[in-house]
């Protein structure tokens, strides 16, 4: 029987300890490592099957080595904005601090069992309801190229950056460069803000 290795990356010790108790109840859990900061990466016990981490550590997702490709990432976020950042960066699922705590266990179970990224779609839907209540923008105002509009449209549809790289035939790094340029042109600092603006521009 294949045992599952899990890493919990959180800056609060008491949260880590509570999460450790939770993940130990998942089926077939073997190794559980507790990391306190990014300096603990990549750990001493090989590549984990799942990382459960605080949203503030999501930049880790941008520079993962190739052998970490099968690791699942679940992010604990305080709000939709934090969640969106992590999900666009490639996290598989997100748990918001205002969700019912009972939902976390099945979310982890499901994430270990499948590769579906349903959470990003849900977060994007929540952003859409926010965008509906705000005035529209003109797309020409920002001088976006056709490629940038295509990337923004995919982000708006809930595709994370690695998925966009695959869909457009570009590398992940190229997509990240495009995304940074999009942020600059739109005058935003995050993926969720960019998506919100894209919705208001009706891209």
């Amino acid at each position: 029987m294949q045992m599952v290795a899990i890493v919990i990356l959180h800056h609060r010790k008491e949260v880590q300890e509570a999460l450790e108790k939770l993940v130990r109840r998942l089926a077939n859990v073997g190794q559980v490592d507790l990391w306190h900061s990014l300096s603990d990466f990549p750990g001493k016990n090989g590549v984990p099957d799942l990382v459960l981490m605080d949203a503030s550590f999501h930049p880790l997702l941008n520079n993962l080595p190739e052998n970490w490709i099968n690791t699942r990432w679940v992010v604990l976020a305080k709000n939709e904005g934090e969640a969106a950042e992590a999900l666009f960066a490639g996290a598989h699922a997100c748990f918001l601090s205002h969700q019912h705590p009972e939902e976390l266990f099945p979310l982890l179970q499901k994430t270990l069992e499948s590769n579906e990224g349903e959470t990003l779609v849900r977060i994007v839907q929540q952003l859409r309801s926010k965008a509906d209540n705000q005035p529209a923008f003109d797309t020409n105002e920002y001088d976006l190229t056709t490629k940038e509009k295509e990337i923004l449209r995919l982000m708006r549809n809930g595709v994370h950056l690695k998925g966009i790289a695959t869909a457009t035939g570009n590398t992940y790094e190229t997509i990240r460069t495009h995304v940074k340029r999009i942020y600059k042109k739109l005058g935003v600092a995050s993926a969720s803000e960019a998506v919100l603006k894209a919705m208001r521009m009706n891209i």
């Binding site: 609060r12 008491e14 509570a18 266990f105």
Partner: protein, 374 residues
């Protein structure tokens, strides 16, 4: 014995003698030796029906020691062999029933895969109508009861749960099966307890204590323990203490660590009532650590005294850490009036909002005192 068992006579088509010996040794508690002998013998057992029996015995031996993960592959292997020799005779159906029953205990109740429990129970129900014996029927009722307790998260159980237990009790009585009668009375008491019918619960547990006499010490410890919990919920300190002391003695004598730790959490509650917070905290923390380790659904028993101590110390970080496992499966749901503060408290803790966490904790403790959980 080991030499004979590790080389079962392959000329016997069903290895019946060997398997019967193993079955008897399991009932006498020689689990590890039987597992070793069965595992050694498995490659030499040629017919699928005997292989299914042998694998199921290994799974049962692990199950009785509460080792669920190691039991799982043997249970699955038993299912495979059983399908290979599918037949329409009572022996095959009898083994199929035992296999499904073992599956229910291992997978659904202990490894937390609850999604297909209903399918398993429906299949069992159909087979039992035609092929089951009363021993299997009583085991089935017990599985159904546990499924119901879990589905309702040990909270506000329906009236049907009581009639179900009463029927099971009647069957156990007809069969003159003392252990089953005591076990069902324990179930009934628990159902009353979680319908907040505490006096009826005490009656059922007391009857179980009476039937236990001086023989069934393990069951007796369970019943005295829940009588103590009922008195705790009725806020009767001296009665709770009386039954807790009895439970501690019985649980220690019989090595039933779970109920020893239940009793320690009741002692922690008593110490809270007497204003001895340091002693209360120590007792409750030890109990909490153990009940968490064995994934016991009634972790609220030590958590509530611990939360009281955290409130007194203004330690919201620690409070959140203790409260979070109340939402980890398998969990006993707390009354709605408590959940109304517990949920925002845990959410505030996760969001690093100490002020709100403490405020909700204060209201949670007030509610716990009203509902008899503290």
């Amino acid at each position: 014995m080991a030499t004979t068992l590790s080389n079962p006579d392959t000329t016997l088509p069903n290895h019946n003698d060997f398997l019967d010996q193993c079955r008897q040794r399991i009932s006498s508690g020689a689990f590890n030796n039987v597992i070793a002998d069965l595992v050694n013998a498995l490659p030499n057992i040629s017919d699928a029906f005997s292989s299914a029996q042998a694998n199921l015995l290994v799974a049962d031996a692990y199950l009785q020691q509460k080792q669920f993960s190691p039991a799982l592959p043997y249970m699955k292997e038993a299912e495979v062999h059983l399908e290979r020799c599918r037949a329409s005779n009572p022996a095959w159906f009898g083994l199929k029933i035992d296999c499904l029953m073992t599956k229910a205990w291992i997978i659904y109740f202990n490894l937390h895969h609850s999604q297909n429990l209903d399918d398993c129970l429906n299949e069992l129900n159909e087979l039992l109508l035609e092929y089951g014996n009363n021993r299997q029927r009583m085991a089935f009722f017990s599985v159904v009861s546990l499924g119901m307790l879990r589905r309702y998260q040990w909270y506000n159980l329906p009236l049907e749960a009581i009639s179900h237990s009463q029927y099971s009790y009647e069957l156990a009585r007809q069969e003159n099966n003392l252990q089953a009668m005591i076990s069902v009375l324990g179930e009934l008491g628990m159902i009353h307890m979680f319908r907040n019918e505490l006096k009826l619960a005490i009656q059922a547990f007391s009857k179980a204590v009476e039937l236990c006499g001086e023989k069934e010490i393990g069951f007796k410890a369970i019943s005295t323990n829940y009588i103590a919990v009922c008195y705790r919920m009725l806020n009767k300190v001296s009665e709770c203490e009386h039954w807790t002391i009895q439970t501690l003695a019985l649980a220690r004598a019989h090595g039933v660590k779970v109920y020893e730790e239940h009793a320690n959490s009741n002692l922690a509650w008593i110490q809270i009532k007497r204003g001895n917070l340091l002693t209360a905290e120590e007792l409750a923390r030890n109990s909490y650590d153990y009940l968490d380790k064995v994934q016991h659904p009634f972790i609220w028993l030590p958590v509530m005294p611990l939360l009281y101590v955290c409130l007194k110390n203004g330690d919201w970080r620690q409070a959140g850490k203790y409260a979070f496992p109340l939402y980890t499966p398998p969990r006993k749901r707390l009354p709605d009036s408590m959940e109304a503060h517990l949920l925002p408290m845990v959410n505030a803790w996760l969001a690093d909002d100490g002020e709100n966490c403490l405020q909700q904790l204060k209201m949670l403790i007030q509610e716990a005192e009203i509902t008899g959980h503290l």
